[in-house]
């Protein structure tokens, strides 16, 4: 008998003829928040992870992206140091910053910073979700450079995790990002910055 048939057979033996009937109770939805409160909550929760949040109007996104890069890289950074996800609108991009050209993933480590959009953002937990689309970029893009700048638009913000899952494609390679990379492995104290980007800047437009 194959291992597959044997394991499945064991499960059937273990459960027997009479399988338990289980009703799953409903879970209350998230608290209802006005759009302005939702953005405020997102900003507060992202900052709790020691990420930087820069709020602006949709028109101010390009200038705010530059300000974010100034803060993260220090003035005098070169546009060539910043790699941009291919679906990021032209208006958001620092002029001269190269687009991810599909080079072998490990070569992305040579860039100092990455600029992407997001698929959705969760206010309650301060989470950004990248979905591998051209706007979010492939997974390695938001992983290897040490600074990650993400632009979030107001309409992308949802109250809680279940709302976000409802908007996402389960087949896409998703990365949920809550603050910069961190560890609590030494005496259970949170330290920001291990293998992923050590600096996270969120440009919140709207």
């Amino acid at each position: 008998m194959s291992a597959r048939d044997e394991v499945l057979g064991r499960i059937r033996t273990a459960l027997g003829e009479q399988r338990p009937q289980v009703a799953v109770p409903p879970v209350p939805g998230p608290r209802s928040l006005a759009p302005a409160e939702l953005l405020h909550l997102l900003a507060e929760r992202v900052e709790d992870y020691r990420a930087t949040v820069l709020r602006c109007t949709p028109d101010e996104v390009p200038a705010t992206v530059v300000r974010g890069l100034d803060l993260a890289l220090g003035a005098g950074w070169e546009p060539a140091d910043v790699v941009v996800a291919p679906g990021v609108p032209a208006a958001w991009r620092p002029s001269g910053a190269p687009e991810d050209d599909g080079r072998p993933a490990v070569q992305l480590a040579a860039f100092a910073a990455t600029l992407t959009g997001v698929a959705t953002a969760v206010a309650e937990t301060g989470t950004l979700v990248l979905d591998g689309s051209p706007l979010s970029g492939r997974r390695a893009l938001s992983l290897l450079p040490d600074v990650l700048v993400c632009v979030v638009e107001a309409a992308q913000v949802v109250p809680d995790v279940p709302d976000a899952l409802g908007r996402l494609d389960p087949l896409a390679p998703l990365t949920m990002v809550s603050g910069p990379s961190a560890t609590s492995d030494i005496e259970l104290q949170r330290v920001e910055g291990v293998h992923g980007p050590r600096t996270l800047v969120v440009v919140l437009a709207g």
Partner: protein, 507 residues
Amino acid sequence: MTTTPQDARAEPTPLAPGAPRSGTTFLGLPTAPRGVGHLRGTQSFPDAARTALRDGQLRANLGRATTTIRGKRAAVVAEVPHWEQLRQAGKALKAATMAHLDEHLEELERQVTARGGTVHWARDATEANRIVTELVRATGSDEVVKVKSMATQEIGLNEALEAAGIEAIETDLAELIVQLGEDSPSHILVPAIHKNRSEIREIFRRTIPGVDPGLTDEPRQLAMAARTHLRERFLRARVAVSGANFAVAETGTLAVVESEGNGRMCLTLPQTLITVMGIEKVVPRWEDLGVFLQLLPRSSTGERMNPYTSTWAGVTPGDGPQEFHLVLLDNGRTAVLADEVGREALHCIRCSACLNVCPVYERAGGHAYGSVYPGPIGAVLSPQLTGVEDNASLPYASSLCGACYDVCPVAIDIPSILVHLRAEHVEAQTRPTAESVAFRGLSRVMSNPRLWHLAQRAAGLGRFLSRGRPTLPAVLPPPVSAWTRTRDLPTPPGKSFVQQWTEEHRR
């Protein structure tokens, strides 16, 4: 009287025909095999704990760490007004999944296969290790990077790979500390919780080639040293091995929850990804993750959300590994499933909240449990995976205070399973134990009024021994010492209830 039995590995117990025995359950379902993996210790819990309790540094490290994490968890859980409903939903979702586990696994296999992945089934640790070893060999690589995973710790995958000449590099910071220190994990979430910052600095100084000799014990500096040490290994890795926190049957989506980004490195950069997952980790629907992704981070690291959660379904062209293997592991889980009371232990989402609140874990530490699953959940899971005779002391490694049940995000009734396993262990005994003899005697005395009054009068001897103190001295002659060595025996009262009643009503 003894209530802390020796484990079968120390002294084999003859079994009556038909009694549950190690190796198979009463339904004939095999438990996790001996001689492979890390589900059994070399000592019984009381013996191992006795050694651990003498280590003042260990107790200080554990006390500090568990106090910190308890506070963080309590704060973020209090923030969620419908936490109890979430918990009950999590519990019901798990129970409903287990009731049709076979169907969900078949669906998961179909979906993963449809998206370019390959599904393998492993009856036990030995088979899973063989499958993974062969898959790595087929790539031609002699090293793999690993995401922290309880399943691969359980089956002893690193040792199996090493025996095949393949180096397994642990990339989670705590796993790295354990691996470099040639130590073993003592906590589900933070395997190096027993080490403090200066001990970690010493391990890094000793074992990381080219590490800055001026490395301080500042946690940030230590984390940076690990970043530098592993960076090049991530970039050159061709094969990664991970576990999985969840697998969604209807979509074939796998999920890994982590903090440092080492998981993302492993799940993204290598050409080949091999995921080893216990069969109980499957959830039926995508929306089920909405419940568990709220419950897990808050219970585990005490965060609203962990820094990184990655999900993937099979292979995505142009993004991440182009070869994906999923190994579905039984290794005793179906034997657990066969026990209507004990099967709830399979609902565990490995958050470790029960470890952090447990007064026994906080003092004895994780190594005393002998298994990769320590603490309260380990005390119910390990004996069931191995068969209770191979971990017979674990169901007794608890004061039954119930704190573990209160914090469990999927409301596993750990104290009830502990009691259930104790009963199973007692019933499996064919030779009388000191405890069973004592209780049989007590039963005779208590069913005979004359004997009972005599016994009460004899208890006055205890007052003489206590010399006015509220408890009897710990050093009493055997067999009483078996009880008093680890417990306070109260001094008997001057008059029994019956004596007082008689006196009062005579007036």
